[in-house]
């Protein structure tokens, strides 16, 4: 393999129900930075069926080229048709870097492709940079977030990684950007498709997206069962969304879609209230990049205070209702 045969930064432009996912736009922004450093192009790989202006949106978020694969097989994600399409594209075009969102789709597709291509894949990267010798430096948390590791894939191409939604910042769309849309045809082998999707069920309770919220009021075990109503009350007065630690999700007080942390969502709001949350490493992994963190905890040694910009040692069950009452009064 000659590394010089491989160039350009490719992004899997994940869409669901025809809508390109924010994580794809976030990755296109990051890809733009990497490609500029390399002096190469950003290529969005858009798989789907009747996608409307999705290609244009990819260009507005940083793509120079959109490889548009329109096929009924690709309308909804299943592993094999998507893997075949991207595998063909990698074989024919030799990208240097391929980025995927670390969603249930990206984490199903990425490893399948890495094994098919025989190259490395680094999961859940939190930082991507180009090294002096033009390799991709992929940094990710290890050991439940206790340690960070920078991974390289020196001798194999493409270099592939997944990035969780919300980790890279999305820059605003620039509608005036120009790019090229190229239609690509895939030679599918339907004999390998093999899985049959019988039903797709959307659960409305999962529809809130706490990663989009500007302000999050997040509660932990210290809030207790009775306290959650007070949290909702507080959130209501300042137009915030409610989120939680895993302890509260496991106890059934709130749905998993609102869980923050390593096995929940990565959030980066302007303001994050951590109320009665101890600050376990798995929780911090999902929120420490918030712009401003206010923590209330009765234990002044709680680890949450190590990431808080403003820490209050006190009882949430006293402070939260008082705060909500003051906000309503003013």
């Amino acid at each position: 393999m000659d590394k010089n045969d491989y160039k350009d930064v490719y992004v899997f432009a994940e869409q669901r129900d025809g809508k390109v996912q924010n994580v794809a736009f976030e990755l296109l922004g990051k890809a733009r930075e990497l490609a500029d450093k390399l002096g190469e192009k950003v290529v969005a790989v858009l798989l789907g069926h009747n996608l409307g202006d999705a290609a244009q949106q990819c260009i507005a978020h940083g793509a120079d080229v959109v490889l548009n694969v329109d096929a009924p097989e690709l309308e909804h994600y299943t592993t094999e048709p998507y893997a075949q399409a991207i595998h063909q594209i990698i074989r024919e075009r030799k990208p240097s870097i391929v980025l995927f969102g670390a969603t249930t789709i990206g984490r199903d597709l990425g490893p399948r492709l890495s094994a098919r291509v025989g190259t490395g894949l680094t999961a859940d990267c939190t930082a991507l940079e180009i090294s002096d010798d033009r390799d991709l430096l992929m940094t990710r948390p290890a050991f439940g977030g206790n340690l960070m590791a920078t991974i390289v894939c020196k001798e194999h191409r493409p270099q592939m990684s997944t990035v969780r939604p919300g980790v890279m910042r999305m820059s605003p769309a620039d509608e005036s950007r120009k790019g090229e849309v190229e239609n690509v045809k895939i030679d599918f082998n339907p004999a390998k498709f093999r899985v049959r999707v019988k039903e797709r069920v959307k659960e409305t309770k999962n529809l809130v997206d706490i990663t989009e919220a500007k302000v999050l009021v997040s509660g932990g075990r210290g809030v207790g069962s009775a306290g959650f109503d007070k949290l909702r009350d507080l959130a209501g007065t300042i137009g915030a969304e409610v989120s939680a630690s895993r302890a509260m999700v496991d106890a059934g007080y709130i749905e998993h879609a609102r869980q923050v942390g390593q096995t929940g969502k990565t959030v980066r709001p302007d303001l994050y209230f951590a109320l009665g949350i101890s600050g376990a490493i798995q929780h911090l992994a999902g929120m420490e990049e918030s712009d401003f963190i206010i923590a209330v905890n009765k234990d002044k040694f709680a680890p949450i205070f190590s990431v808080a910009d403003l820490g209050i040692v006190g009882d949430v069950n006293k402070i939260v209702p008082l705060l909500a009452a003051r906000l309503k009064r003013d």
């Binding site: 490893p111 094994a115 050991f143 019988k198 300042i238 209330v296």
Partner: protein, 260 residues
């Protein structure tokens, strides 16, 4: 029906602490456990065994002490346990690991291969799909439940961000399991007693057919260039005051941030 469940011994990451002075991990005394998602997958297999009389094999790749989780699996009710252990397998990234495990699976009969979705010490969720690719099996990831029609078809409830999908796949197939979908059974007392007399087969490099250049550290396309403890952020302000005053401090901050 033959089911092979791939399991891994992992440090209980909730118990790992950072040495605040040296910035290194304190791993001493950290208990090792069967990875939670793998245990969920094992429970799926044992339920199929209860209902349809399947033959369940567990396999793990790891150092000799990984035998502990194989004994635990025996005590839960599996029929056969294999430890894949060789220095040549060590230092592997996910791709090299998946090649080694796939090579071992080629020596076994299976209608269904189950892995956990991800291991808590790495969280990559890669090894399952990579094994599926090496063995040319269809994959269904994120399984919350797994049913069998008694003939050849598995029905999987696959979780995703917006809800779930119901997916059918015929044997042979590979499924990755979520711990949240199922409560693993406890080890039975008889099982625990017997587990120590049951044989754990140890397979090494010579037991499987695999190109040494594709496994272990040398066969790993990715390398750790460096690892470091997360930078600590500058400490914020901490107040230990009466609730009324605390509320005023927070309100002032909200005004400053234009939240109110």
């Amino acid at each position: 029906m033959n089911i092979v469940v791939c399991i891994k011994q992992v440090p209980d990451t909730t118990e790992i602490k950072l040495d605040p002075v040296k910035g290194t991990l304190i791993r001493d005394g950290v208990p090792s456990i069967m990875n939670p998602d793998d245990k969920g997958g094992l429970e799926f297999a044992l339920r199929l065994k209860d209902k349809y009389g399947a033959n369940v094999t567990v396999i793990t790749m790891g150092p000799p002490q990984a035998e502990e989780i194989l004994r635990e699996a025996y005590a839960m009710g599996v029929d056969r346990a294999i430890l894949l252990s060789d220095r040549k397998f060590g230092g592997a990234d996910t791709l090299a690991t998946s090649r080694t495990i796939a090579a071992a699976l080629r020596k076994l009969d299976y209608d269904l291969v189950i892995t956990g979705r991800q291991a808590i010490d790495g969280d990559t969720a890669q090894v399952g799909p990579q094994i599926a690719e090496h063995l040319d099996l269809p994959q269904v990831t994120y399984a919350e439940s797994l049913e069998f029609d008694g003939d050849k078809t598995f029905t999987v409830k696959k979780a995703d961000e917006d809800g779930y999908q119901v997916i059918e796949v015929d044997a042979p197939a590979l499924v990755t399991a979520l711990a949240s979908g199922v409560k693993p059974r406890y080890m039975s007392v008889r099982g625990i007693v017997e587990a120590y007399d049951r044989p754990v087969e140890v397979w090494n490099f010579d037991s499987v057919e695999v190109d040494p250049a594709t496994i272990g550290l040398n066969g790993s396309p990715t390398r750790v260039a460096k690892s470091f403890a997360k930078g600590m952020k500058a400490p914020g302000q901490l107040y230990e005051v009466e609730p009324e005053e605390a509320v005023e401090i927070i309100l002032a901050k909200l005004r400053e941030k234009f939240i109110i």
